[in-house]
Symmetry: C2
């Protein structure tokens, strides 16, 4: 019988009754991969705010702190992996950050995936007081998954060319000591396309920014000369075509302007296929971690009902990145 | 593409961060079966109350009513099936009951599984004011899943012999108009054992009450002469051996006295095996419903990680009964 801590994940994110975002998007796929997931809901909303109306309750800082304290007192903070997403307000966010610090101090091997939910497309959707709290939390993370706007906010750097992108990554790695950064989406502007190696570029038949998003991963782990050299990290990029599509569960109203559904659908699908791509592991000549409980699955080994459910569920960034960081960890 | 309402379930139950009870026990198996599950958390607790300490927040009646209203206004009350479990307090329970009434009036075909969570082993663990609210809700249910104590409370009938058991079932079917009753557990006392047909009896080598539990299902649907006759329902029974075991997620302290782990472990396992028993469907000479999204699965078709997860997860009553009522519906 596996130990109760093996691969156990504590997920602290939003919950919606209807739709698949936050914890509703992340937990089911992780459970399908064999992880035991402890789930703390930072909000309990009817649906994503992208619908015209939404409501429900937000956990207060005191409620979250009390819950973490009780889990600790009961000996139930058993997880080896921590995943945090949207937390409502600076005080509640500070309670989550304090937990992350305690857990990291207790177990320096903790894998902490921090999704610094601040905003998108040039607009904050949390209080500005959250920014310094996220900045303080960064040093405890193993991997972070900001979008391009969140990178700009965290690093105070406008990303307008390869130099500013490199600077932002360097700030995250060197000033904030984040070993792994995944920029979950960044529009493929002309300057970014030109900076990519030809093998990572999309076909030249498309010309507009809106046709592709890039996903950029940057890691200092296992990189020679990573301390202050000119090549501080290994950077991987992948372009994702934007196709028209419907992204279930995040609304059709205001949301479709702020977070275009067509982007997210395809991002999701691309990540899903990346996640299940067996060759992702084979070429590494290393077993993925947790083989006994979280085998990489060919989609054909999933029951058809679960497959269709997985495809319908938005995986957002988390499980893909989770696997990615797992693979990286196995190479150390 | 299946319609968004096909097989969609709205689950209104408790949530615990750690462990598998309430929604944490029911939702994952239902998702694995291909259902889209909308999830309203009636409480957000750190863990089951069986641990020495627990805490978190309870949804108020106003919060629940607002959430249901918003889902309705957004056109998101799409489910064809409703599943309700623990609701904290009479006012919040009334809000859930009101929703069930509205949904049933809007869609008379709604399948409503009502788990009337009142108490166990002779003790209430909710306010007595909940009792009349559950009694009022019963008429809207398709199937209810009380334990023996909850049957006693709802029907105001002490179950001490076959006559009182029959009377309690008759009250549920005839006074409260519940078409399907599953008594999820009842100790196999001498009188109950004697009342069972020999094919349903456990071996005679065991003598104590504590060795077996019975699960009793009683249905008026499709039963000739069900209106006021002497045989008001078709009754099925199954005995479940009690073996020592550990029931993960409901604590080790007070709980182990109030809700013996050894009972629940085996109940869970028995239900799990019943649930996945392909022959359950084959002998009916009818396809189970929702074949496109919720096929009955041989466990061998599940990935090993999901299998072990399913076994670790307590299914409690819900998915088994859910399938049971689905099978019954397909025979209508």
């Amino acid at each position: 019988m596996p130990s109760p801590t093996a691969g156990r994940i504590l997920s602290i994110q939003s919950h919606v009754a209807f739709g698949y975002v936050g914890g509703k998007a992340a937990v089911f796929p992780l459970q399908c991969l064999g992880y035991d997931v402890d789930v703390v809901n930072t909000v309990n909303f009817s649906n994503h705010s992208g619908y015209g109306r939404f409501g429900g309750s937000r956990a207060t800082a005191a409620e979250l702190a009390k819950m973490f304290e009780l889990m600790e007192l009961n000996g139930l903070l058993l997880c080896e992996r921590l995943l945090t997403g949207y937390v409502p307000g600076a005080e509640a966010l500070a309670a989550v950050k304090d937990l992350a610090i305690r857990m990291k101090q207790k177990n320096p091997e903790l894998i902490y995936l921090l999704d610094p939910v601040l905003g998108d497309s040039g607009k904050l959707y949390v209080s500005p007081e959250c920014i310094p709290i996220y900045r303080e939390a960064l040093q405890y993370s193993t991997v972070i998954t900001p979008n391009w706007f969140e990178v700009e906010v965290l690093t105070d750097t406008k990303i307008t060319d390869p130099a500013s992108l490199r600077k932002a990554l360097r700030v995250l790695h060197e000033t904030y000591h984040v070993p792994n950064v995944v920029i979950s989406s960044i529009p493929l502007k002309v300057w970014l396309r030109a900076a990519l190696p030809s093998s990572a570029q999309p076909p030249h038949t498309t010309n507009t920014d809106a046709d592709f998003l890039a996903c950029i991963a940057s890691s200092t782990e296992g990189t020679p000369g990573s301390e202050g050299g000119t090549a501080p990290s290994a950077v991987h990029a992948r372009c994702i075509p934007c196709l028209p599509g419907y992204f279930s569960g995040v609304g059709r109203g205001r949301c479709s302007r702020r977070r275009p559904g067509r982007h997210q659908t395809v991002t999701t699908t691309a990540r899903l296929s990346a996640h299940f791509q067996h060759s992702n592991y084979q070429h590494l000549k290393a077993s993925p971690p947790l083989t006994s409980t979280a085998k990489p699955l060919g989609t054909s080994s999933l029951p058809r009902s679960a497959q269709s459910h997985l495809v319908r569920v938005s995986l957002r960034t988390n499980p893909f990145v989770w696997r990615w960081i797992s693979v990286r960890s196995s190479l150390k």
